[in-house]
Symmetry: C2
Subunit: 302 residues, 2 copies
Amino acid sequence: VKVAVLGVGLIGGSIGLAARRRAGANVVGYDPDGCALSRAVEMGAIDEPAFAIADAVREADVVFVATPVGVAVDSVRLALQEAGAECVVSDVGSTKREIARAITNPRFVGGHPLAGAETAGVRNARKDLFDGATWYLTPAAGAAWSAAGASSHGQDAAPWAVERLRGLVERIGARPVAIEPDAHDRLMASVSHLPHVLANVLVARARSAVEADGTSAADGTLGAGPSFRDATRVAGANTAIWTDIYMSNGDLLVEALDRAIEELSSVREALDAGDAETIAAWNEHARSEREQLQRAGLVSGP
Amino acid sequence: VKVAVLGVGLIGGSIGLAARRRAGANVVGYDPDGCALSRAVEMGAIDEPAFAIADAVREADVVFVATPVGVAVDSVRLALQEAGAECVVSDVGSTKREIARAITNPRFVGGHPLAGAETAGVRNARKDLFDGATWYLTPAAGAAWSAAGASSHGQDAAPWAVERLRGLVERIGARPVAIEPDAHDRLMASVSHLPHVLANVLVARARSAVEADGTSAADGTLGAGPSFRDATRVAGANTAIWTDIYMSNGDLLVEALDRAIEELSSVREALDAGDAETIAAWNEHARSEREQLQRAGLVSGP
């Protein structure tokens, strides 16, 4: 199988490594940054470099667009135009509504591998980056795809294109899961974008508590439990990438924030009123919700 | 050294195991639950069981009160009364202002090991539970202890008592850190209690997003990234324990919540206005705050 990777950063480089080592693919890479491109060759992430998108995609069976979000739509368009009539084009962007609306070609299948948000650059690329990771595919432009098989209106991806991409994603080591673009973005607002916002809020609160305790803070001996480390690991994640992600899902993230603020406000009222019963019931409810999320596959066991 | 442990659950049992194996201590355990007490003997967490607090503490050099928070003050009082005049009494409660106000005996030194909130019961006890963990000590009732050495007013713990406890905590494998009760509770509101509240909020938001996408949720194939798993690990933690913790630190947790809600509201406004510049600046600020927390010892490296 011939694969083209447009943008050989952490994600593109890891796709190249995994596709070569695990799917026996021949991988051509393109990146406007010549230094990243050389590095990708040295690391074995790509078989050969291309110096234009048209050259990279000419012979490809599958193209992965792994550029910054801002230029993804244009790169997908160019790839669809320059590649052969049987070539499948996908992307790896963190939100899917916008690109699903913008690209109406049946050879395009949106994608989003859940991996790698905390580091960047081809130097961190690994062939096992996607091992066992969910890799969302959004072949539909609105209709339910997984329920109806190939669906009824013109903007959906062609079934053969979806199958080819799905097969390659599996050989790369990931777990392909089909989902509607709308449902994807709504889910990400809650399970990815909101956690990142809350991580930022937590470091601000902790900083202010540390500041209030000048003596102990000065000698660097304070400690926090594992729950704090876990909850703040993604605080202040790569600003360029994350500003794009937040803005591209702004409406749904605002909705998630509004509901989070509502819940925090009622917890605050119960605490202020010394209402232990309400706090206990709220915590029990969270426990049962977490168990339901485990069954839905969203979190692993306790 | 002779140690008494009142309450042989996860924390008390682990103290017993670590004190016996690492400090060569002789450990007597007391628990109103005879079953837990037998189990503690079988597991080697205590050398011998006692069937009354008075019997447990009679010969002890150090007593650890590891009962539920609700009865901790009474157990500390009884231990101070029944133990010898050179016995040090400590506790392991998650908040420290209340007990520091209630107990004015110089042989009492408040304590709080940062470990084990997610499981419970002596069956989960481990001799390495506290390895490298911060173990806060609150010998002062208000004045700065670490800066001033023994401090000036009558309610502080005796220096010899603090030193004995500190030495034992170190031999157990933990990292003793002295802190004011007020500063401790303020810090915990931000780095422990608020993260638990936010974890509960996150599972509620995710549940609602999963519900909105009936099709994909039904087959249990949805996935989320590691940031969601990390941020929700403590959601719905042991309700009995956590309701006590939340209520006992209610005022400072309300303060932390108010500020968190303020910050979330301004992020919400910036998103709603499409103000990418503000979002980018806010995220950069979080990055720098996280780096400062790393220097203060509160989170480990990236």
